[in-house]
Symmetry: C2
Subunit: 219 residues, 2 copies
């Protein structure tokens, strides 16, 4: 199935024409960053926390310390919702009302499971790190037993999801086009700059290709 099922949970009502349930499009948006916002219910209130994630197939992995309130809560609830947003531009219309943004955003709903099987857990940690900088896992020292045991890893199996994308110019009222008011789009992008190496690296240690590639792709 190449589309997520539309339920009352993920159905896009406002701005439905910008919505999509296509898995390929959703995965592309999810794979273009490693930072999501997770929501959980605590004391009858929704709390939102930014955290790193990785994606493998229909599974989102997140990790944290064993006592992380968000993680412990999500495991108790058994379900989670995460939101991923890219800001691509400010859409500045002639009218205040038609101001908008160009963006790509995804909301994911899924069931939560603690990852305990050691091989899957190590794979999940690799997935999260490589989601940040593709291929960089192979360059680093892997978790030792103590670090491994101190990390809580959660899998969110995507049950359903939706994306909303705006990627166009200003949409003003027809009669406003004659006004002597400027309108246009300011393109926005999250940019990576030249890596700053730690001062005490061992002699002869260069910046890895995976890191150079990442910076190159985002500069």
């Amino acid at each position: 199935m190449s589309e997520y099922q539309v339920t009352s949970l993920n159905k896009i009502i406002r701005g439905a024409k910008r919505g999509t349930y296509n898995k390929e499009e959703i995965n592309k948006i999810l794979d273009d960053t490693f930072l999501c916002h997770v929501g959980y219910v605590w004391d009858n209130q929704a709390i939102v926390i930014p955290t790193a994630y990785g994606r493998e197939g229909d599974t989102i992995y997140i990790h944290g310390s064993l006592k992380n309130r968000m993680m412990v809560n999500l495991l108790e609830e058994g379900k989670a919702s995460i939101s991923v947003t890219h800001l691509d531009g400010l859409v500045l219309a002639r009218s205040a009302f038609h101001h908008s943004a160009n963006y790509r955003s995804v909301t994911v709903f899924g069931n939560v499971r603690k990852v305990e099987e050691p091989k899957e857990k190590m794979n999940a940690l690799e997935c999260i790190l490589n989601h940040m900088v593709p291929g960089h896992w192979d360059n680093v020292r892997r978790p030792n037993e103590k670090e491994f045991n101190a990390t809580l890893v959660m899998a969110i199996k995507i049950d359903t999801a939706s994306a909303k994308v705006r990627a166009e110019g200003v949409i003003d009222e027809k009669e406003d086009h004659d006004l002597p008011i400027w309108a246009g789009v300011i393109p926005m992008k999250e940019v990576a700059y030249e890596p700053i190496s730690e001062p005490d690296l061992k002699n002869g240690v260069d910046i890895p290709d995976a890191v150079l590639r990442y910076v190159n792709n985002r500069s």
Copy 2:
């Protein structure tokens, strides 16, 4: 009072040394973007949605259409939590375990009220637009009656809040410093590019100073 009260809701437990409750620092982080993630409870589940906001004093304003599920839900609940996150860098350690990010993030908790008094409502719309591009409200056509009435505006009075900031280099285990592994920080920034004017602007309409200033400050 220059600090928000610490309650069980906003108390930072993990990484407490990176936490602050200082209003000035929190406001600075809030004022450096216009995009937040709002959480609300729907059918016993937390849902996270990106939206634009403005800040004036201890009040966050958000707006949407009259039927926006998130807005309607928040008004029913009477309280809201929003999260604002700036990614400032990727922190790539020698060890997988010590990978991190440099960031500034704020979580706000507050009581929700529908803004109905026309003058406050118009001020709130001005605040939201100027939070996106400071000073740009004065350049645009203001909402007419129909647009004004079709917009739902909500005020979130900040009850408490907290910020977490990481702004430093790699922190690796002492014994890992001798490994022949690269470590460093990739600085990240949300950058604005040259505005793309709409093709059908009236003759002689230039890009406003507020827009040029915005781009200049973020390029």
